[in-house]
Structure formats: structure tokens, C-alpha cells
């Protein structure tokens, strides 16, 4: 017979999940973890793959690309090349966490604190999520998007909608407001305004027809006027507002694609912090549950086994965000509780402070880039045996320019932090000129740093999509920091 007060074995029931969640909630309250209410959804592996390919969103519009990723991921999963994620959690309110049915009880005991308390509290507290996302509105918005796309397919034809979405998806990464906070998602308002935009567009068309009959006064060509006045980084926004040939519904699709891309903007900037945070808390909460006699030793050991795999850092490979994040948060705790002289020198602000207070403050106010710049400790750099290597195009070797010693620490810290800056892995492209009074040509600039270029074949394919959307000529110029033209597409 199974001891009902203590969970053991590998089989689980829905009640077991709930009691794990409640146990975690009790312990988490002691650490003042502020979370959205949890909605745990038990799903099959197929459903897991399904949410996997639509970025974890439980609702999404139909598009073949999701089907393609499903086929690819499914093949990988079936062949055993890839293990599936044990959980997926997205920042909604209530916080929806997908738990796979194949997980053992121990795995569930690991992923519930990880997702439902770690990620959940992070997305409720972190400033990027608070500013950039609306957890109350996203599901409504996705439902709205799905219905709108389906409606368009019915009204304007499957192929045209597909072609439009293909083109918009190609520019998804250029649909972000990186510095300006986006307007709030509100499905009701969105619907009302959409109707307004559509009728305004029709009105403009009518007026344009009328005015075309009126003889034009000879106006001096105001060619000197540059539009847009400032470069526009949000290409999809620019297309939505200014593309000369798009139909109103295509502009709406552009809006939907960029709104969704925007929603994931905070995620990509907080990966190390967020995963580290969730890993730290599942580690902590599992021990708390064990100490309180809520799970047995078998479960604890299985959890620790998985935990160790998750935070394993392979040598001479790319950094594992779970490992780096987990170590970084542990370092913060150590510096708060047992600072060494070295820590006092590099991290005077937090050395000796209350660790929990520091944790909350850090979680709320930083992103990967600033987090690493601020809190990376010399000890972590030594433990991870980090080195910085540099190379140039055409060289057949890397040069080691810093290793994990006292003299290399600051360079490694700033380089590591810079690697998590958006511009270091996403090209910076902006609209600089739109000749709206003449040939309607559009000119874009790709700002190149350190001679980094766009991948040529991909860029040319993407340009085809962009030209199709724009309907007139489009040029993309790669320029270096001195304004010198490096390439043209």
C-alpha cells in the first residue's frame, strides 16, 4: 500500500499533480514568489509537439509552416534524436503550463515547480514582460487572429492569404518595436478599430478617385522632403501603414504577425535569467518538499538526476542557458550570504545583502545582457573555465584573447553580456527612404558591425517576399559604421 501522505513511485494521478502544486505553493509563499494562478494542462506527446511548433501558444492561426515544423520535430522525436520538452509554459493569466502525460511522477514533481512557480513568477515580475506583454489578453488575441485569418481565407482565397502570410513571416524579426513600448492588446478594441480602419481605407480610395478628376495645380516637386524623417526599425509596421498596393485585409495580417512577434520579444532577451531562475527554484522547492516529507527519496533522486542533466555544461561547446543561469543565480545567493574579498570588490552592491530581496530585485529589473554584465562573478568565470576567442573572416584559426583569470574577467564579462544583445544575433535593418511622390521605391539599410554581413541566399529570398508585399522596387543596402556601402540586394 502506498503512503498517501508521501508521494512515491512513478505513476501519478491528477490529484497527485494538484498536491505537488499545493505543496510548492506553500513553500513558494515562504520565498514571496508572486505568481499568476496556475492552470496545468496534461497533454500527449503529439500535443506537446503541436504547441512546440506554435511557440507554446495554445491557439494559433493555420499556416503550413507550423505543419512543416511539426513534421520535422516529430521525425526527430520518433527517431530519438531529440527529446521533447517536459513542459511548456507561456505567460498568460492564468499561467498555462503543459505537462506531458509520459512524464513520471518525479518528472512532474520537477516541472511543476520549474514552470508553475519559476517561469510563472518570472513572467509576472520581470519588467520586460510587464511592459511588453499582456498576459490577460494574449489568448483572446490569438483567438481573434485565428478567426480573422480563417475569415480571410474564406473571403479572399486560401492561396492569397497563404502567400501574404509567407511574405510576412519572412519579415517577422523585423516587426519589432525594440525601444518603444507597444500598444496594449485588446481584442474588443482591436475589432472595433479594425472595422474603423477598413472603412477609412475605403473612404480614402473613394476620395482618391474623386480627386483624380480634379486638375492638379502645378506643384513644385518636393523631392527634397525625405520620408520617413527618422529611420523606421519596424519594417512590418512600415509596410502595414505605407505599402502602396496592399489591400486592407493584408495590412491587418501584417498587424497580427507583428503583434505576435512582439509578444515573444521579452522571452528571447531573458532566456538565461528566466531558465536559471526556474531551475534555481525547482531545485530549491524539491528539497523543501523532501524536507517536509511530501515526496520520498526515490523521487528526490530521480529529480536530481534530471536536474543534473539539465544543468550540464559540455566543454568547448555553446553555453547552456540552464547551466549558466542556474550558476549565476546561485552565485548571487553566495555573494549575498558569504562574500569573499573578491566579491566585495566586484559586486559591492549586493555583497552581504539579504539574498531573497536581492533575488526579487534582480529578477524584476534586468534582462540577460544587463544581468550578466552586473552579476557575473569571477568565480563563475573560473568555474565555467570561460575563454574568449576571436577571429576574422578568412582566417583559418581562432585566437584566444582572454582566459578565466583576474586580468581577463572584465573583458569576458562584457563580451558575454554583448553576446546576448539583440543586435549581436539579429541584423539591424531599418527603412530609410520611401520615394512616395515618385517611383515609390523603398530603401532599407542594414547596419553592419565588425563586418558582419547578411547571409546572401536567404536575404535574396527574403527580398522577393518584401518586394511582393511592397509592390514596387525595394533595395536593401548593407552599410558599415562609417556609412560605406558594403553590399546591395
Amino acid at each position: 500500500m502506498r503512503d498517501t501522505s508521501k508521494l512515491s513511485g512513478s505513476e501519478w494521478t491528477m490529484d497527485d499533480l494538484l498536491s505537488i502544486e499545493q505543496a510548492c505553493a506553500r513553500h513558494a509563499a515562504g520565498y514571496a514568489l508572486d505568481t499568476f494562478p496556475n492552470q496545468m494542462e496534461v497533454i500527449t506527446s503529439e500535443q506537446m509537439l503541436d504547441s512546440y511548433v506554435s511557440s507554446g501558444l495554445p491557439v494559433n492561426y493555420g499556416h503550413w509552416s507550423f505543419g512543416k515544423h511539426f513534421l520535422i520535430e516529430n521525425a526527430k522525436y520518433r527517431s530519438g534524436a531529440n527529446a521533447l520538452a517536459y513542459e511548456i509554459v507561456i505567460n498568460t493569466n492564468p499561467c498555462i503550463a503543459f505537462l506531458m502525460e509520459d512524464n513520471s511522477l518525479a518528472m512532474q514533481a520537477l516541472v511543476i515547480p520549474h514552470a508553475c512557480f519559476g517561469h510563472n513568477s518570472f513572467s509576472k515580475g520581470n519588467y520586460l514582460f510587464r511592459q511588453w506583454t499582456q498576459p490577460d489578453a494574449i489568448l483572446d488575441y490569438m483567438l481573434f487572429a485565428r478567426n480573422y485569418v480563417a475569415d480571410c481565407e474564406e473571403r479572399y482565397g486560401f492561396d492569397r492569404v497563404e502567400q501574404t502570410l509567407d511574405a510576412l513571416h519572412a519579415l517577422r524579426d523585423q516587426g519589432l518595436d525594440k525601444y518603444k513600448r507597444p500598444s496594449k492588446l485588446d481584442t474588443r478594441k482591436e475589432r472595433a478599430e479594425q472595422a474603423k480602419r477598413l472603412s477609412a481605407a475605403q473612404e480614402t480610395m473613394r476620395q482618391a478617385e474623386y480627386y483624380s478628376l480634379v486638375p492638379k495645380s502645378p506643384k513644385a516637386a518636393s523631392a527634397a522632403e525625405v520620408f520617413p524623417q527618422n529611420p523606421e526599425e519596424n519594417l512590418l509596421y512600415f509596410i502595414e501603414k505605407h505599402a502602396p498596393k496592399l489591400e486592407p485585409w493584408q495590412r491587418e495580417l501584417a498587424r497580427i504577425v507583428r503583434k505576435i512577434a512582439q509578444y515573444f520579444y521579452p522571452q528571447r532577451q531573458t532566456q538565461v535569467m528566466n531558465e536559471g531562475w526556474a531551475t534555481f527554484w525547482h531545485h530549491r522547492l524539491i528539497y523543501d518538499m523532501y524536507d517536509a516529507g511530501e515526496i520520498d527519496q526515490g523521487i528526490l533522486l530521480e529529480c536530481l538526476h534530471s536536474h543534473t542533466n539539465v544543468v550540464h555544461q559540455r566543454e568547448y561547446s555553446s553555453l547552456n542557458p540552464y547551466a549558466l543561469g542556474f550558476a549565476a543565480w546561485n552565485e548571487i545567493k553566495r555573494v549575498c550570504e558569504n562574500p569573499t574579498d573578491e566579491d566585495r570588490e566586484y559586486l559591492p552592491d549586493i555583497a552581504g545583502k539579504d539574498w531573497l530581496e536581492t533575488f526579487h530585485d534582480t529578477m524584476q529589473n534586468y534582462r540577460d545582457e544587463s544581468f550578466l554584465l552586473q552579476f557575473l562573478t569571477p568565480k563563475l568565470v573560473r568555474d565555467f573555465k570561460l575563454m574568449n576567442i576571436q577571429t576574422l573572416e578568412g582566417l583559418d584559426h581562432w585566437t584566444v584573447d582572454h582566459t578565466a583569470g583576474a586580468e581577463g574577467f572584465k573583458s569576458i564579462r562584457s563580451n558575454l553580456s554583448a553576446a546576448y544583445r539583440l543586435e549581436s544575433y539579429m541584423p539591424e535593418i531599418s527603412v530609410v527612404r520611401y520615394a512616395h511622390d515618385s517611383d515609390r521605391k523603398l530603401v532599407l539599410h542594414h547596419q553592419s558591425y565588425n563586418g558582419r554581413m547578411l547571409a546572401k541566399a536567404q536575404a535574396e529570398q527574403t527580398m522577393k517576399h518584401l518586394r511582393w508585399l511592397w509592390g514596387f522596387d525595394v533595395t536593401l543596402e548593407t552599410i558599415d559604421q562609417n556609412g560605406k556601402l558594403l553590399a546591395k540586394y
Partner: protein, 422 residues
Amino acid sequence: MTSVIVDRRPDKGKSTANRQRVLKRLDGALKAQVDKLVSRHKLQDTDKAVEVTIDRKNVSEPSFILDPAAGAFGRIIPGNDQYRVGDKIPRNPSQGQGGGGGQGAGEGSSDEEDTFRFVLSREEYLSLLFDELELPALVRKDLLEIDETRFRRGGVIRYGNPGSVCVARTFKASIGRRVAAEAQYQEALEEAEAALVVARGSGIQSLVNVAELELQEIRRRGADIPFLDPVDLRHRNLVEVQVPSTAAVMFCLMDVSSSMDEKRKDLAKRFFTLLYLFLTRKYKKVDLVFIRHTDQAQEVDEDTFFNGTQAGSTKVLSALSKMSEIVEARYPASRYNIFGAQASDGDSFGGDSTESSAYLLSQLLPCARYFVYAEVGERPAHGSTSLWAAYRSIDSDHFNMATVSARNEVYPALAKLFNKEQ
């Protein structure tokens, strides 16, 4: 704070729609593989799913990404236990990508393989395979003539047996009737009440009595409006409809004389199997009849048909008359769609060819939906055998023939016989 658990597992098949979309997108690429698939895929195990390999180019999703090899860049590498500042590490070209965090590698790494594989279900495979094929137009027209009687739901009627009462509609009718009747009653009631007041006002007792009686009568009638009345009853109606018969029988006729070696039999078998698969997509149920013949015909089971051996000379007519016999005995043309498929190397002797062709035209084709002849064997013999020559003179829309000399010709032969454009 309340937490909930939701069991989403029954909520299946969300990916199906997107799967259909990507298959549609890949249509061209998949069709190009069909021939290859047919030859590689063993027809015996048609129940198995089929794995296909698709070039990613067909479904590429381009975006602006940084060239992993261009320019100057650095990486942070963990686990260094051997290098010192200034050391040079040879650059592995395949490893050249990825920002320090490994995040930048996201897009690049998804393109590292040029192809991806996935599994088509049997249904998807067959629909791809037979997409271009269709029963000849004439056959389909004929199909509509052979009718079967079925019952299907057809509206609502007022009469029927108690078992077919449609409760919702009956109540609807009852509500309507009661609303109408009660409105009438209210009107009469008000009138009678007014009359009573007038009568009382007049002070004449007899008038008051009459008015009171009238009012009582109306009240009684009002109370009598029944909740359900026989006129409310509604019944679900069943109507007889004529539907085309969905039963089919396929006769497999094969020459098993010694000139039919293993290779030819193999081709014949592939031909039969493909045809069978095709027919099962058009008809609910397809019966199979196997007739093998040398100089005399026998009805046998599938195993014996494909694997048994028999020696003797060849007489095609024997098989055709056997088929005719079985049709008469078991498969009346009024109830079955009869398909004939004959495979032979075309060898036959004496007057057999002409006799067979005449028999086919006069006896079998009038009752068969479609009869196809596949000549199996090495190419030089094709078109010069006596059977081929005799069959060529058959002028009927119910007959067609093709040659098959190698495995990869089986499907094209079938495609020729059932071409949509025909």
C-alpha cells in the same frame, strides 16, 4: 489563488489541419516521388505507412539572418582547460557560426540538413498515388444506373408511428398552438368580462345571468387548452433514395502456364494489387476472385494464385468463360460493379486469341464495368503477341490494355488505363 488541472488529452488532432496544408504545399515534390515510392514500397504491406524524404528547398522560410562566416566576431567558450592567451585554435568551418550565447545559432542550425523525412499515412500515400487517376467517365455514368434502395432522413411529417416522434418539433408545435389559442381565449375573456360589467350596469338580472354563464363557459374553454394535442405530433420522416451500388468485384485472371516465369508473375501481382487498392478507394467493398488458367481455368485462393505452379499450355478462353460462369452464379451485374483484370504474357495458340477476343466482346464486356488487360514480359515481344493483336481489335469503351515489362512500369500502366483526361 486557485489552481486547476485540465486534461487536454482527448483534445486531439489540432495539428491535422496544418499537416494537410504542408502536404498540399509539398504536392509537387511528393508526386515527383510517387514513382520511386511505388517501386521501393512493397505492395504486399500496403497497410504500412510510407516514409518520404523532402528537400527543404520546397518549404524554405527565408528571413534576414547574419552570415555566420562573415566579418570579425568572438565567442565565449566554456570548459577551457588547455589554452592560454595568444594561442591559436584551428577553425572548423562547420563550427563557424553562433554567437557566444548559442542563441544566434537558432536559425542557422535548422538549415544544417538539406532534407527532412516524414511518414505519410496509408491514406495520404494512396490519395497521392491515385490523385491523377479516375474511373473512365462512361463507367461512372453506368454506375449511377445500378441502384440500391436506401432510407435516409427526410424532414418532418405529421403522421407516423410512436417510435419516430420528434420531441423537439412536437413541443414547438405545441407552444405555437397554445400561444394562438390562449391569445384567442384572452380576447374572448376580456369581451365577456366587459359584457358582464355592462350587464350589471344595466341592472337587468337576466342579462347578468346570461353574461355570467357566457363568462363561465369561456373560462372553462380556457382551462381546456391542452398542453399537448394530437395535432402537435411531429414525426421524423424517412424517405427512400436510390443510391449507386457500392459493391464491386474484381476478377484477377492470370496465365500460369510455364512461360509465365517468376518475374512475370511478380509484375502481374503488382498490377493486380495496385488495381485493387485503386478500386477500394472508389467502392466500399471489393470482392476478389482469382482465376488462374493454363489450358483450363480454376478458381483458387490468393496464395495458390500467386505462388502455386501448374504446367500446361495456354488457353485464355477457358479463364474468360470461367469468369462468365462465376458472374452468373454469384455476382449478378445488377448488384455488382464487375471489374476484370487479366495478366498474361500474350502467348496463346491457334484460334484461342480470336475466340477469346470475340468472347470477351460479346459475353463479358456487356456486363462488366471495365476490363483491363496487362501484357507482362520483355519489351521486344510487346505488341506482337497473338493475344495483343486480337485484343486490339476490340472496340469498346469498357476495355483497355497496356504493357508492363518492368516493376517501375506497373504504376504508369495503371495510370494510362485510368487517366483522368481520358
